[in-house]
Assembly symmetry: C2
Homo-oligomer: 278 residues x 2
C-alpha cells in the first residue's frame, strides 16, 4: 500500500466474519470494513470525494471485477459519523463486456444505509474515438499560485487548487471556474483519486454568492472517459477541471464539471445535485 | 387514467400476490406488474425513455413517497424482452426533506435484474433561485417542420422532433443539436414524460457519423430542476432540448442534454453513457 493519506482513507479490510463464498457459479457480494479519515474530514462529515473513492475502490478490489469504471452514481442518504464503516459491493449482473454493481455504506447503530449507489464497469475495445470537449488553453499548474483554502476544513489541506481566470469566491452572475487540481503531497491520478477530484470543486453556491453557505451533496454521478491503462500512461499528477451550475432552484442546485489530464486527454465528466440554504 | 399510449406504456398494477405491509413503522417495498409497450418499442428492445418513466412512475405512485423527483440514475443491465415485467421500488431512507430510493425491473426466466437504479426525491422550499443555463433563442415549434423519423422504429412515431439549426444526421465534427420535442398525439409534460424526453435525443454517434450505427444506452441520469406544482403550471406541450457529447472513447460515448419549457424554464439536465460499434 502507498503511504499517502489518501490511500489510508480508502483502505478496505475484507470482513472475515462473513461467508464470502458465492452460490455455485454465482457472483459474490463482498463486505469490507473501512474507517473515516481525519485528514480528509470535512466541516461536519467526511469529504464526499473520499467516500466515493472508497466504494469505487471496493469494486476495484473485488475478485470478480470485470474491466474499468464507466459510470457511477452515489447518493448520500444520511450523515456518516466518525468511526468504522461497513462497505458492501454486489455484482448485480455481468455481461460479455459490462458489469453492473450496487454498493452501500452502513454504520453500526443505524438501520438504513448512509450511502447507496450503482456503478457500471466495462471492458474497453478499439473503436473510432474523439473528444468533443477540448481542454481550454491554460498556463501549466506550476506557474499558478495555490488558492489559500479556508481554515478549519481538514480535507482542503490535502488538495492544491490553482485557478485560471476565476476565483472560487468570485461572486456574481456566473458559477464557471477553471482550475488545476492536485493532491498534497502529489500522488499519481488513478480511478479512486479521479473520483475524489470530481467532488473537490468549490460548491457553485459559494462561487455565486462569494462566500460559504450551508450545502450538502445529495447525489453525485461520474462518467469515465479513459481506461485504466491509458490513465496509468498519462502519469498525471494533476487534472484540469472546468465546473459550472445549470440551475439553482428551491433548495437544490446542480454542479457539473469536466476533467482533463495535463496532456489534454478527457478523463471524466461529473455532475451532482446539492441541497443548499441561502 | 389518460387514454394516451404513453400512459398505457407506464401503467402499473400493484402485485396483490405479495404481502405489502411494512414492518411496524417501516417503509414498504412495492412491487408492480407492468408490460412492455408495442407503440413505444424500439428496434430490438423497449424505448429506454418509457422504461425510465415506468420506474419513476412506480415511485410517484408509492403511498409513502415524499416530495418530487430530484435526481435519478437508471442502469440498463440486460435486454428486456417483450411481455410482462416486475417493477420493484424500495424507499431506502427518508429524511426530513429528502427520500432515497432503489428500483429494479425483472422478467420471468431471468435470475438477475434487467434494470437497476436509484432516485432521490425532495420537498422543495423557497430559496434564492437562478438559472444559469438559458434557453437559446428559437422559433416556436409550430413554425418548424417535424423531422421525418426513419421507418421501422415504432417509438419514433410517438414523438415530434423539430430541429433548429441542426439535423440529427448532420455528420461532421460536432454532435450539438437543438430541437423541440413533443408527444404525438400531444400530451402535457409531467415528470414521467419529461424523463422519457431525456432519452429521446438522436444518439450522438448518429449525429457525428451521419447515419445509424449499433448503440445501446448503459446508464442514464437525470437531474430535475423544477418541482411538480411549477411543472403543472407551465402546461408544456413541448420541451426545447440541446444535446451534445463530450467524448467517444474505445466503445463508449456520453450524451448530455438540457431541457427547457416553452417559456424558458429550466426543466432537467441529463447525461448517459452509451455502448457503440462504429
Amino acid at each position: 500500500m502507498n503511504d499517502h493519506d489518501f490511500d489510508r482513507a480508502i483502505q478496505l479490510q475484507a470482513d472475515d466474519s462473513l461467508d464470502l463464498s458465492a452460490p455455485s457459479g454465482g457472483l459474490a457480494t463482498m463486505r469490507y470494513l473501512a474507517h473515516t479519515s481525519e485528514p480528509y474530514w470535512n466541516a461536519i462529515s467526511p469529504f464526499g470525494g473520499t467516500t466515493v473513492a472508497l466504494v469505487l475502490n471496493a469494486i476495484l478490489q473485488h475478485p470478480q471485477r470485470l474491466g474499468d469504471p464507466l459510470a457511477m452514481t452515489v447518493n448520500f442518504a444520511g450523515p456518516i459519523q466518525k468511526g468504522p464503516m461497513l462497505v458492501e459491493v454486489s455484482p448485480i449482473r455481468t455481461g460479455r463486456s459490462t458489469q453492473h454493481w450496487a454498493m452501500s455504506i452502513r454504520q453500526q447503530g443505524d438501520d438504513s444505509p448512509l450511502l447507496t449507489g450503482t456503478a457500471v464497469f466495462a471492458v474497453r475495445r478499439d473503436t473510432w474515438s474523439d473528444s468533443e470537449s477540448r481542454m481550454p488553453a491554460a498556463p501549466p499548474p506550476e506557474t499558478l499560485e495555490r488558492q489559500t483554502p479556508p481554515a478549519n476544513v481538514p480535507f482542503l489541506e490535502r488538495y492544491a487548487m490553482r485557478y485560471v481566470d476565476s476565483h472560487p469566491l468570485q461572486g456574481g452572475d456566473s458559477s464557471l471556474t477553471q482550475c488545476w487540481i492536485s493532491d498534497l503531497p502529489p500522488r499519481p491520478v488513478d480511478f479512486p483519486s479521479l473520483a475524489a477530484y470530481c467532488d473537490s470543486f468549490a460548491p457553485r453556491l459559494f462561487v455565486r454568492k462569494g462566500a460559504p453557505r450551508p450545502i450538502s451533496t445529495v447525489s453525485l454521478s461520474i462518467n469515465f472517459h479513459i481506461d485504466g491503462e491509458a490513465l496509468a500512461n498519462e502519469q498525471c499528477l494533476a487534472a484540469f477541471g472546468r465546473s459550472r451550475a445549470n440551475g439553482f432552484y428551491r433548495g437544490y442546485y446542480d454542479q457539473e464539471a469536466v476533467l482533463w489530464s495535463p496532456r489534454g486527454s478527457l478523463l471524466a465528466t461529473t455532475h451532482q445535485m446539492v441541497w443548499f440554504r441561502d
